[in-house]
């Protein structure tokens, strides 16, 4: 699997994502600058966590207007896989590659801690190695991860099996509607999630529950 990590000004999990990708695939990821209007030939594009453009105005708003996002959209339109983690998820909603919006945490504070997630959907390139209903622990680290969409949208994405990860009952860190932590687009090739799978691939760092996501991708895309 060949992968690329997009680097926006003030992305800050770009190196973490690249490290995890290299560890899992054995191949270095391409680092792509936000002003580039073309992507290298890759199977997976990762939009990493961080504070693109300072997260000023709204998280992900300015990144959605960058040159590279036109290329990312084209990649997604062709069926290429896109994984948006944390700020990357925010960028995807702002770009309307995913529905809904990520609002300020209901508790109004930044929150960084491991959370329990339920894998709700395994019919995807990102989660096929997990089992349905499996509980995993990923850390979250965000101030604006409160997923919002109108009821009609929520019903639709639930009905279409596009809610991939949910916060386990009682462990919703941000007030997200219906405990939603991660969703797919209609074509199921774009995933956005607030928790950080790339921070749980190394046993020394508090778990390996994120590995199966990368293994799923490798199996699907290689």
């Amino acid at each position: 699997m060949k992968s690329a990590v997009i680097v926006f000004p003030a992305s800050n999990c770009d190196r973490d994502a690249a490290t995890a990708l290299e560890q899992m695939t054995g191949k270095a990821a391409h680092m792509v600058w936000h002003q580039d209007s073309e992507l290298p030939d890759v199977d997976l594009v990762v939009l990493p966590g961080g504070f693109s453009y300072g997260d000023y105005l709204r998280c992900g708003a300015m990144a959605s207007q960058s040159a590279v996002m036109r290329a990312v959209r084209a990649h997604a339109d062709k069926g290429g896989a896109v994984l948006g983690i944390c700020n990357g998820f925010q960028v995807l909603t702002e770009t309307h590659l995913l529905p809904g919006a990520l609002m300020r945490n209901a508790g109004l504070k930044f929150v960084c801690r491991p959370v329990s997630l339920e894998v709700d959907e395994t019919q995807s390139a990102f989660t096929r190695k997990y089992s349905k209903g499996e509980q995993v622990s990923f850390p979250v680290a965000h101030g604006e991860g409160n997923y919002y969409a109108d009821d009609e949208t929520l019903n639709r994405i639930e009905g279409e099996g596009r809610v991939v990860f949910r916060y386990a009952a009682g462990d919703n860190p941000n007030g997200s509607a219906r405990n939603i932590a991660g969703i797919l687009n209609e074509k199921r090739n774009v995933l956005g999630l607030m928790p950080h799978p790339e921070r749980v691939v190394d046993p020394l760092l508090g778990g390996t529950d994120g590995r199966k996501m990368f293994e799923s991708l490798i199996e699907t895309l290689s």
């Binding site: 000004p9 000023y56 801690r113 680290a141 101030g143 760092l205 508090g206």
Partner: protein
């Protein structure tokens, strides 16, 4: 030209004597700009005029020290060509006035100190002291400071991995916000601030200059009174986004060989950065302020020289390399301008709009800056409650619960969950343990980091209290299995012009020096924050110690958590039952009294070296030092961290139950391992002549059980321990942006 009146001199915080000295050094009346430059460079903040003679007594050398005090940050060798760069600094006054922005810009400032030397910041710490919880401002200050630290550090993508939080009424009018940054660089790629050579371009990079915090450095050197809040000097607003770009751009430029010297613009901005670079390089600097990128219209030379706008750096490049550097900064969408040139005159020359605004010898700002041996009057040290004093009989498990749920001893989870602790994917020990541990990226090595000081000990006995701060930092690093390597300090006190405060400063520095020498733990940097007084009420003397240590294999790291049922629990070190200045005495008996616990440095070293060897040898992975609150608190923390119960007794000592379990005797560790392993360790302890006792074992029942006293459920302890902070803060509206 503005006439320099005595009132104007006074407004600049300069004494009559100091002004007389200026006239002598200049040989003429200074211009207003020159007066402003003197005022900031001769302020306590920049010149360390009250502390310099004493700081010179600190040990600063060791074979692994690459750079001691004097640069933006200290540097140590951590092997394999890697260097660790770190420093701690205060942002006390601004944080009191505007907690969010004050704390945020404090974080930004200390990060610049570290990356200006060529390091990528890899971890942040924060040592915080607030007024008593019942004070009407405390909640708001806690909320603002914590979100400010998080707001800046999280955006920078540097994990904030630990710190301290204390509450005490002495900080009601003067909170302390001390931030520490640790970075990594290649040992042969360290950047210094010496602007050597003449004819080299001086370049300005980063944000534009505005009228921010003019006279901030002098503010940090003045006492507050009730009017200060009304006067409210401008506080700077931090821009972590720009700082992140500045970090990446600087590291990119540093990968080339275009830089001769580089220095961040901290307090006193353009003035101190240019004066210090010229001073260190033995050169002169000529600045053309027309070239300075400006955020506001019609800025004067005075304003530009004294502006404390954030996120700016000054560098001296090799001639001809300007275009290459400019390309990098433009790529990161930052301002870049050549604003001057180095000379061989050893003078600082400032021109603006065709006028000569300043022309002064740089040594007048550095070597010739005042240095005072202020008079000091040592106070008698507090005594009492030393060797197992008798106190009223009380239910010790109830006392334990009360202590675990008290403001100073409860969990700081509410704080650290607002910090990104795991970004950069190298945090192997998160907040909650003795020291944080971050891996050296791409290796098995780890850096252990801690900040410590127990201000109430320092008030009772400044010398022993300062020794204790160093010893505790050393112990916390040891307890995770790392070898303590070096220290940065942050000395926070009241008004040094009061002889009793000056005595605290002098004796603390003596204590730090003695402990650092005995523990081979040199001081490689630091910061002084004086005049922390409001209406004549000073803070507790607070010499915060930031320590860094190195471990070779993070897989062997120890944590405080009990790991299994059936392990034996061993106490290493001597328990005499010292209750003076203890948490028990304060929280349970309501008495802030007694002697500070004495620190016996040879025992610290011997016991600590022993424990570290156990960890390095892979023989134990559960270790906790005994500090605030004493033994029973340490045991409870270990049980809670592992969610494993423990059953303990007094193990045949002659010390009474309360002093045994709550005394704060130093040089102690609790270790847990299998009974066979502990047996072997006991034999070795006997041979080494180290006082120790097996005090109990871990058990299946989730309780803390004390022989003859009963037991308390972990769930009950946890509720008390985790409960206080969120409950206290639930009344505060989080700051908004």
């Amino acid at each position: 030209m503005t006439a320099i009146t005595p009132a104007l001199v006074k407004e600049h915080g300069l004494s009559e004597d100091e002004y007389a000295r200026i006239l002598q050094l200049m040989n003429r009346e200074p211009t207003l700009v020159e007066l402003g430059i003197f005022s900031v460079m001769w302020s306590e903040h920049c010149s360390y005029k009250s502390t310099r003679v004493h700081l010179a007594k600190l040990p600063t050398k060791a074979s692994w020290v690459i750079q001691g005090p004097g640069e933006n940050a200290g540097v140590i060798d951590i092997g394999d060509g890697d260097a660790c760069i770190f420093k701690m600094e205060s942002h006390n006054h601004p944080s009191f006035i505007e907690p969010y922005q004050g704390a945020a810009t404090g974080v930004g400032g200390i990060m610049r100190d570290v990356f200006t030397m060529g390091a990528r910041p890899i971890a942040m710490m924060n040592a915080l002291r607030f007024g008593e919880p019942s004070h009407p401002k405390t909640r708001h200050l806690v909320s603002g400071v914590v979100s400010g630290i998080g707001g800046y550090g999280n955006c920078m993508g540097v994990p904030t991995v630990g710190g301290e939080v204390n509450f005490h009424k002495s900080y009601n009018g003067n909170i302390l916000v001390n931030a520490m940054c640790v970075g990594l660089a290649k040992a042969n790629k360290i950047f210094l601030s010496a602007a050597k050579g003449a004819g080299n371009p001086v370049v300005y990079v980063g944000s534009k200059t505005g009228r921010d915090g003019i006279h901030g450095a002098t503010m940090a050197s003045a006492e507050f009174d009730d009017a200060s809040e009304e006067k409210r000097p401008t506080v700077q607003v931090g821009d972590p986004f720009t700082e992140k770009l500045l970090l990446e751009a600087c590291l990119e430029l540093m990968a080339t060989d275009a830089i001769i010297a580089i220095q961040d613009m901290g307090a006193a901005g353009l003035t101190s950065s240019s004066a210090e670079m010229g001073d260190k390089g033995g050169s002169g600097i000529e600045l053309d302020l027309d070239k300075v990128p400006q955020r506001e219209a019609n800025m004067t030379a005075y304003e530009m020289m004294l502006s404390e706008s954030q996120e700016r750096m000054l560098a001296v490049l090799k001639p001809g390399r300007e275009a290459e550097a400019e390309r990098i900064f433009r790529k990161w969408e930052l301002d870049f301008a050549v604003i001057g040139i180095t000379t061989d005159t050893k003078r600082l020359v400032v021109k603006h709009k065709g006028r000569m605004e300043a022309d002064m010898p740089i040594t007048a700002l550095s070597d010739e800056a005042p240095k005072y041996s202020r008079p000091y009057a040592e106070q008698p040290v507090a005594v009492g409650f030393e060797n197992a004093p008798s106190l009223p009989k009380r239910d010790i498990l109830k006392s334990l619960k009360q202590i675990m749920g008290s403001p100073d001893m409860c969990s700081r989870r509410w704080v650290w969950e607002q910090y990104d602790t795991s970004v950069m994917a190298d945090t192997v020990q998160h907040p909650g343990g003795d020291a944080a541990v971050v891996r050296v990226h791409g290796t098995k090595k780890g850096l252990a980091i801690t900040t410590d000081v127990t201000p109430r000990y320092c008030l009772a006995n400044p010398f022993e209290g300062a020794k204790q701060a160093v010893a505790e930092a050393w112990r916390n690093i040891t307890a995770v299995g790392a070898r303590p390597l070096a220290v940065t300090d942050n000395l926070n006190y009241g008004n040094p012009q009061k002889p009793e405060i000056m005595a605290q400063i002098v004796r603390s520095i003596d204590g730090i020096g003695e402990a650092c020498r005995a523990l081979d733990f040199p001081v490689i940097g630091g910061n002084c924050s004086l005049y922390n007084e409001t209406n004549g009420e000073g803070i507790l003397p607070t010499p915060a110690i930031g320590g860094v240590g190195l471990m070779q294999d993070v897989a062997r790291m120890a944590t405080v958590a009990f790991r299994r049922v059936g392990d034996a629990v061993l106490l290493i070190g001597d328990t005499r039952g010292h209750l003076g200045q203890s948490i028990y005495l304060r929280e349970i008996e309501g008495r802030e009294e007694g002697a500070a616990p004495p620190v016996h440095l040879p025992s610290e070293k011997r016991n600590g070296d022993f424990v570290r060897k156990l960890i390095e040898g892979g023989r134990v992975t559960t270790v906790h030092d005994v500090s605030d609150g004493g033994l029973l608190v340490a045991l409870a923390e270990m049980a809670l961290a592992g969610d494993v119960g423990v059953d303990v007794g007094v193990a045949g000592t002659t010390v009474e139950t309360v002093p045994f379990f709550f005394g704060e005797d130093q040089a102690r560790y609790v270790v847990a391992a299998s009974a066979e392993e502990i047996d072997k360790i006991e034999g070795e302890l006997r041979t080494a002549n180290i006082v120790h006792a097996i005090i109990g074992k871990t058990i299946a029942s989730k309780v803390v059980r004390v022989e003859r006293e009963g037991e308390i459920a972990l769930s009950e302890l946890r509720a008390a321990h985790e409960g206080w902070f969120p409950r206290f803060m639930s009344e505060e509206l989080p700051l908004t942006n």
